[in-house]
Symmetry: C2
Subunit: 336 residues, 2 copies
């Protein structure tokens, strides 16, 4: 297997990308390779840290870089020699089997849709983030690939995220919840009401009904289905709140328990790990004809390293084949 990494993508590129690639050797099988794509003059000095890098890493030079705030489609059009565009084209050409990027998410989604196409039967790809909660991981899909969703898109997110959670996290029968504003059938906007009907009808899914915002933490579901706008808001809210709350609580405790700063720091660190996106190794773009793992822009080398693990598992466990199979048996909904 050959895994491409966009070396120029993240906030801390290429340093964390290269370090992540070097640290990921443990996840590679015999003959597996990582291909770092980006400016070789920036990448090669960083690789020198590990004298054996050439045994499992190749470098493909790409001169251009797409910035975090660039308009995705425009950036891809004007920068065909960007690390991202080159990587995705390599995947389309069969030169690599998976893509990893911590760069501009919109550009990642656009590039994957243009060059990798969709899996047979998929209406729209969706990003599934496995988010840590104190009752275990919950996959939220979609978190930003698709901000103008239709019911059939959300329905397929339920199917695809279930397959992913089953294959990658070992959850036997993922319970699927539909994010709404009340548990009753009548609650929610039109999109939710129509999606609910589709999810309910599918006997292959373990659909548990509508869930509310608080249920992300209540342990009632393993997959939370929502449109990409809502999912993105939720994801960033959880991130911001975890930080803020831990800081507030430690402030209170610092006053109540002077002299215990070490224990407090340790507890904060342990919480931070539980809520750390780097642990989860990026989020797959489900539904594209290939493997694309999107990492948080601020990913450390651990985030990149774990994304390699996810890409390897994604391939080994045939996630895409299983999605295609399950979709072929699901009721067809016209995509109007």
């Amino acid at each position: 297997m050959r895994i491409g990494i966009d070396a120029m993508g993240g906030d801390n590129a290429p340093r964390e990308e290269v370090k992540g690639a070097l640290s990921a050797r443990r996840f590679l099988g015999e003959g597996d390779k990582i291909v770092l794509i980006g400016r070789q003059e920036a990448i090669l000095p960083l690789l020198a840290e590990d004298p054996k890098w050439a045994e499992f890493i190749e470098v493909r030079h790409a001169q251009q870089v797409i910035g975090m705030d660039e308009a995705p489609v425009e950036a891809l059009r004007t920068k065909p020699e960007s690390s991202l565009a080159v990587m995705v084209q390599m995947h389309a050409d069969g030169l690599i089997d998976a893509c990893i990027s911590a760069g501009n998410t919109g550009a990642c989604v656009a590039a994957a849709q243009m060059r990798l196409r969709r899996l047979n039967g998929v209406h729209r790809p969706g990003i599934a983030v496995v988010t840590p909660t104190h009752r275990g991981p919950v996959a939220i899909c979609d978190v930003g690939a698709n901000v103008n969703c239709r019911p059939q898109h959300l329905y397929q997110y339920g199917i695809m995220a279930s397959v992913y959670l089953q294959c990658i996290c070992g959850v036997a029968h993922p319970r699927v919840g539909l994010l709404s504003i009340g548990q009753e059938d009548a609650k929610g906007n039109d999109l939710v009401k129509q999606t609910r009907a589709l999810l309910k009808e599918d006997a292959n899914l373990h659909f548990v009904g509508n869930i509310e915002g608080r249920d992300l933490f209540s342990g009632v579901c393993d997959v939370m289905v929502c449109d990409g706008f809502v999912g993105n808001v939720v994801l960033k809210l959880v991130e911001g709140m975890a930080e803020g709350l831990v800081r507030t609580l430690l402030g209170e405790l610092g006053e109540l328990l002077p002299g215990h700063e070490n224990a407090l720091r340790k507890a904060a660190g342990s919480i931070s790990v539980k809520y750390d996106y780097n642990e989860y190794g990026g989020a797959p773009l489900l539904g594209v004809g290939g493997i694309f793992i999107i990492c948080h822009g601020a990913s450390s080398y651990r985030g990149i390293m774990n994304a390699v693990r996810v890409a390897v598992d994604f391939s080994k466990r045939h996630v895409n084949q299983q999605i295609t199979q399950l979709l072929s048996g699901s009721p067809r909904v016209a995509d109007v």
Copy 2:
């Protein structure tokens, strides 16, 4: 001033409603009265706790009760003698000057829209919740009155919530943020993009641009504008997460700091107060032709008591007059 309280509304009705009314005396001026509306046989024994209750409380018997899970419009149609329907009709008839309910939110909104109408120039009423964050309160509007929003609705939520925050919380020039999935103009769904243009054009507003989920806690805005579906998800997520995180952190600390259970409990209590909706006294339904304060279903007597304070301030500071005045000067948008 006469303030109506739906005594049968909340999860703990009528106990907390009656206790809240008794505790709210401190907020009443000379001649002000609270009118408790509901089953007198349930209310009167609870009032007996305070021998002087009759000096500032009246009881208006209403036989029927609307349950939390009833379909709002249907419930109002079939239960004209419900405490909620009677209360809103009393407000419409000028017998009371404000309504407070911890009952079925959908029914509260429907009843207010039907009987109190809208303020001049308002397209749709919206619920503004002042939510506690570690950087101070942020008003989120709308949190569930309107799940099929148009740009002109969101635009007006920005105006109305600004007036509210100014009048009630004393924030001089509230900074208004539009909840989206990225700060750039191009980010977001169609609703957000069109709303952004309207907010930007209005020189009377202190519009700070798009904000993201995490910014609820970053101190960049005082008002967060969003559609009622997203706002409701956000609100419940914050509630659920605060609970979950505090529990996780205390669990970690309990192991690291045995023997300090009291300090830990104290810190947790202090956090809980900061994030306690009861402190904020309910959320006004902004834009209706009257005063309607909606309380959390699980409100304690403190939530009801503080809602009385908010209703008094709302009236004293002429929030509705100021909204009408500001709207009359704002660009008109056809409500199609």
